[in-house]
Amino acid sequence: MADTFKLQVATPAALVVDEDAATAEIPGSSGYMGILPGHAALMSILAPGVLTYTAGGQTHVLAVDSGFIEVLDDVVSVMTESALRSKDIKLEEAQRQLSDAQNALAAPPVPEANYEELVLAVSRAQAKVDAAGK
């Protein structure tokens, strides 16, 4: 069995990652999942969070938005609306976004229709802050 698998992270604007990775940790909507070569075919929903993978002995960190994951024949495809490498994230900006999102959520009254969106905004910003810190 091969000791790497192909990891592709695509956004509508670009193919952000296209590498042979040894391991990956992907934020699924029902928890983080670790992926190693030879993983069974899988489909799942991607939640906003921190995606880490190792390729060529180096660990890379990305903040991803919600999306989808597909694993098939040692190709891991991650589709998301945005994926930022940790080095491209500005920590202060991410922190400001996080506190803005948290304030918006905490400030009563929260309209029910927006609630999910606000929660998403918080987790999105949280992911950026977490990724920037690594």
Partner: protein, 285 residues
């Protein structure tokens, strides 16, 4: 008959025009390249999404629980929504006019239905407002540099209206980039979604039920189609503009040639006349 000075002035003016059209052509060529790069960059995402959609759809169909999704519901097309992607500015030959003709034909063919037009781009709005069509929305300034969020916002609004039953079908009218010479006009239905046929069945582990995945994938698919339409249209627009400006430049060159010939003739005539005057004056002495 025009005198030499007038002709010279006109030649200068046409030369200036040629300078401008040449510059515009160059700008469009650069923009076209960037637009194509963006279109190419969005391709992996698009491929992944359609592949996953067809796989999930096959799995959901096997479990027979996909028919309930609102974006798949087929209804009688009584209220049709048309998303028209035109440009904000002109100077691109028949780019918008050809598209509008196709759309008018479409409207003529669907007399019985109530048609609402959602316009992206100023040209489309102006044209169909003049015609007195029912404009449901207008998006300005997103055509030049299409962003996914903007396309997604449009798609979401329209999908919601579809899900609520306010509209029975969503059609997309757009110029697609075929080659630099001529765009390909496309008018196709994007809602209700026709699921792509899946060729192969894989034995996936589903963390969520396929129907749930499908219900999340479908809106994304609509968003992506709108985004791709904007990208395609932007490439096609810049290509059309480039061609139009190239034609304008060569036309200006032709006009300059004709005017120069004319001017030389007029100058020659006046020289000849002066010589005759001098000669006859001398002969009279």
């Amino acid at each position: 008959m025009a005198n030499v000075l007038d002709l010279r002035r006109r030649i200068r003016s046409v030369k200036n025009t040629r300078q401008i059209t040449k510059a515009m052509k160059m700008v469009s060529a650069a923009k076209l390249r960037r637009a194509q790069e963006r279109a190419i960059a969005s391709r992996p995402y698009a491929q992944m999404l359609s592949r996953m959609l067809s796989n999930v759809a096959a799995a959901a169909a096997a479990m027979d629980d996909s028919s309930e999704l609102p974006l798949l519901a087929v209804r009688d097309e009584k209220k049709i929504q048309l998303l028209l992607v035109s440009s904000d500015s002109g100077l691109a030959g028949g780019f918008n006019a050809n598209l509008f003709r196709v759309v008018r034909k479409f409207i003529g063919e669907h007399q019985g239905a109530e048609i609402g037009i959602e316009a992206v781009g100023r040209k489309g709005r102006d044209y169909f407002r003049r015609l007195g069509s029912n404009l449901t929305g207008y998006h300005h300034g997103i055509f030049d540099k299409p962003k996914y969020e903007e396309a997604a916002a449009i798609a979401r609004t329209l999908s919601e209206r579809y899900a609520k039953g306010e509209i029975d079908a969503l059609y997309l009218a757009v110029n697609e980039f075929k080659n630099v010479m001529a765009p390909a006009i496309s008018l196709r239905r994007i809602l209700p979604i026709e699921l792509p046929e899946s060729q192969e069945q894989h034995d996936y582990i589903f963390e969520q039920p396929p129907a749930e995945l499908l219900s999340k994938l479908l809106p994304r698919y609509v968003e992506l189609q709108v985004f791709r339409a904007l990208l395609e249209s932007n490439s096609a627009y810049n290509a059309a503009r480039m061609t139009a400006m190239d034609k304008a430049s060569s036309n200006a060159a032709d006009v300059i040639d004709t005017l120069t010939l004319n001017m030389n003739r007029v100058r020659q005539a006046s020289i000849t006349r002066e010589i005759i005057e001098i000669v006859s004056g001398a002969a009279a002495l």
